[in-house]
């Protein structure tokens, strides 16, 4: 219970720090970039939207900083992110809601695939320690884990889109198709997702394999494994029921780190493939100097990551008695 409370506390504090940083970055930057943005958009958006922007960035306002800060916190927590300038007159919230499902689908599915396959391969490698598989895999995956996401994406494009022209490399679906629940559209979504997903999978699976392999190696030296052998349990039972179950728990706890890694990679992958998810929108906002959209995207990504980490924490508590007692 104490563990859960602590993790909840961490969630709230991290969120608060992220929001505060988000609030102060534009105000601390030299040369007031927000004002420059406003000048660019004057005349192109309506005056009331500009007024709201001025309020959001603390320009021409009599309100003291502290009051601006609490207004901002209130607005952010109630989901009022203001108006996007790139996609005017859509609100930032609408743009986010359009982008979020693509990212959640792409990153969510690939992360789960990477976790499942990586853990299984790592288990086998650790179990057959010193085998050909085990001596070959770690160096290979140490290297794949250090590859730049966007470059792997570009290589896949070169191979499958440019040279073989079998897979699309642009967007999330064929724009000539009308979105809907029919086979054509779903097929198009899937084929468009293959290359971005493969990129993330190739790079992120190595981390799971290596940590799982190392956890298994450590766990195998424990007494309860020797006990299980002494009892004459079958190898399969020891491998899955004893070694795997204990080795997978630290892996789950390491999820937080890997998630940040995958999210940063996903931003680059979405950019490389023009995949219309949150990362792509974030960079669109950056290129158009659309600061309200950019900041909202940052908040959105942070909240998503924090929620995922929290879910992981709860899972760890549910699965691991040690986490419940240690506090």
């Amino acid at each position: 219970m104490r563990y859960i409370l602590r993790r909840l506390g961490l969630f709230v504090i991290t969120l608060w720090i992220a929001l505060t940083v988000n609030f102060f970055i534009p105000r601390l930057m030299p040369g007031n970039p927000a004002e420059a943005m406003m000048a660019r958009f004057r005349g192109r958006v309506n005056p009331s939207a500009l007024k709201a922007l001025e309020a959001a960035f603390g320009i021409n306002t009599q309100k003291p900083l502290i009051e601006q800060y609490f207004d901002y916190l209130g607005n952010t927590l109630t989901g009022h992110f203001g108006t996007s300038l790139t996609f005017f007159p859509q609100s930032v919230g609408t743009v986010i809601l359009q982008a979020l499902p693509w990212t959640l689908g792409l990153v969510g599915v690939t992360t789960i695939l990477a976790f499942v396959f990586g853990t299984l391969i790592g288990l086998v490698a650790g179990w057959r320690r010193g085998s050909a598989l085990d001596s070959l895999l770690p160096p290979v995956f140490v290297i794949t884990g250090a590859l730049p996401f966007f470059w792997v994406g570009l290589l896949l494009v070169l191979l499958f889109s440019v040279t073989l022209s079998v897979l699309p490399n642009d967007g999330a679906y064929d724009v000539t198709l009308a979105p809907g629940w029919n086979m054509d559209f779903i097929g198009s979504v899937l084929t468009h997702a293959i290359l971005p997903a493969a990129t993330i999978l190739i790079i992120s699976i190595g981390g799971w394999i290596l940590t799982m392999r190392n956890n298994v190696v450590t766990v195998l030296a424990d007494d309860y494994i020797r006990m299980a052998r002494a009892k004459g349990l079958s190898n399969t039972k020891i491998m899955y029921g004893y070694a795997a179950r204990n080795a997978v728990l630290p892996n789950l706890a390491g999820f937080a780190m890997s998630l940040g890694f995958v999210v940063s990679g996903a931003i680059l992958v979405e950019y490389t493939f023009n995949y219309p998810g949150v990362g792509y929108m974030l960079l669109q906002a950056v290129n158009n100097q659309d600061y309200p959209l950019m900041q909202a995207m940052f908040v959105m990504i942070t909240v998503t990551v924090l929620v995922a980490v929290l879910i992981c924490d709860f899972l760890t508590v549910a699965l691991d008695p040690r986490a419940r007692t240690e506090g």
């Binding site: 991290t14 250090a146 030296a221 940063s264």
Partner: protein
């Protein structure tokens, strides 16, 4: 009374004061004996030479000059061809090594210094200070760093090198700090530290001369991890156009290649070469890092005696 304590310490000192081995020599021996580490060290050495003496590899002195015919295929004059802007790709590659390595080494070193300071301080001070510092570490661990970096770089209007390095350090220290805190905690009650305390050494001496030398392989691993993170993140930033567009680096090369649609126009080398260099440098850091992991955690070393394995089957 005091003399008695001094006497007992003196007599026990030779036995208990022996630190767990781990010094510069040990690391060198470990690198030589470990295939992964050796491969990583050789790669890193080649890049170091290219960064310090680029003239050894190319006669071009200003690689960003648009001095040649556009989009030439590879030839003896231009080993990797030229870009659509008329720059020699091989020369850009060689001259780009320097900035990439500087970012890696400086950001990596500063981030590891920060992790050592915060991680060891948390473990050594304990109590409320530890709680506070641990919280700080946890917060920085879960905040998604890359989006934050993008936001900062966007407001800084395409960061120059210094800004990029500062941001990389701020976002890159937390993982190492957590590992170092854990190891420092496990050291805290060891005999050799107790005896140093009984000898009356100050905390500064104990931390610098007693604790840090025993943690050297973990610190080295952290430096490599932070350097790897810096290389990949800086390249990503430059690739999406948030670096300085006129800088000489591999990420910037990829940015221009992507905006000139090099893949679609058949200039594959423009994309493959800089990415391959980033990948090789990343591999060098990762291989060395993995080797240090094996050194600091003997349980992970490749088994030499296969006796137990045979019994299992």
């Amino acid at each position: 009374m005091t003399s008695a304590t001094a006497e007992t310490t003196e007599t026990t000192a030779p036995k208990t004061n022996r630190r767990p081995s781990g010094s510069g020599m040990a690391i060198w021996r470990a690198i030589r004996g470990n295939g992964k580490a050796l491969a990583g060290a050789i790669l890193l050495f080649i890049f170091l030479v290219a960064a310090i003496f680029p003239q050894l590899f190319t006669s071009v002195t200003n690689a960003n000059d648009r001095a040649y015919a556009l989009s030439l295929p590879p030839s003896s004059a231009h080993p990797l061809g030229t870009t659509s802007y008329g720059q020699d790709i091989w020369a850009q590659l060689v001259w780009g090594t320097r900035e990439t390595l500087v970012v890696a080494v400086v950001a990596g070193a500063l981030a590891s210094i920060l992790s050592v300071l915060i991680g060891v301080a948390a473990a050594y001070l304990g109590g409320a200070a530890d709680d506070l510092l641990s919280l700080l570490i946890d917060v920085f661990l879960v905040i998604p760093a890359f989006p934050l970096i993008i936001v900062i770089a966007a407001y800084a209007n395409g960061g120059n090198l210094a800004i990029i390095i500062v941001v990389l350090v701020i976002t890159g220290w937390s993982y190492g700090a957590r590992q170092l805190r854990a190891q420092a905690l496990s050291l805290r009650r060891r005999d050799f530290l107790e005896s140093a305390r009984v000898r009356g050494e100050g905390w500064f001496y104990i931390v610098i001369f007693e604790m840090l030398p025993t943690m050297i392989s973990l610190i080295a691993a952290n430096f490599l991890g932070a350097a790897l993170y810096a290389v990949l993140t800086a390249a990503g930033l430059q690739f999406i156009g948030l670096g300085s567009p006129s800088s000489q680096s591999w990420g910037t090369m990829l940015h221009w290649a992507q905006s000139a649609e090099a893949l679609q126009t058949g200039q594959a080398w423009w994309v493959i070469a800089p990415g391959l260099c980033i990948a090789l440098l990343g591999a060098a850091f990762a291989l060395l890092n993995y080797a240090f992991d094996e050194i600091s955690n003997p349980a992970l070393r490749p088994v030499r005696r296969n006796r137990r394995n045979r019994v299992r089957k």
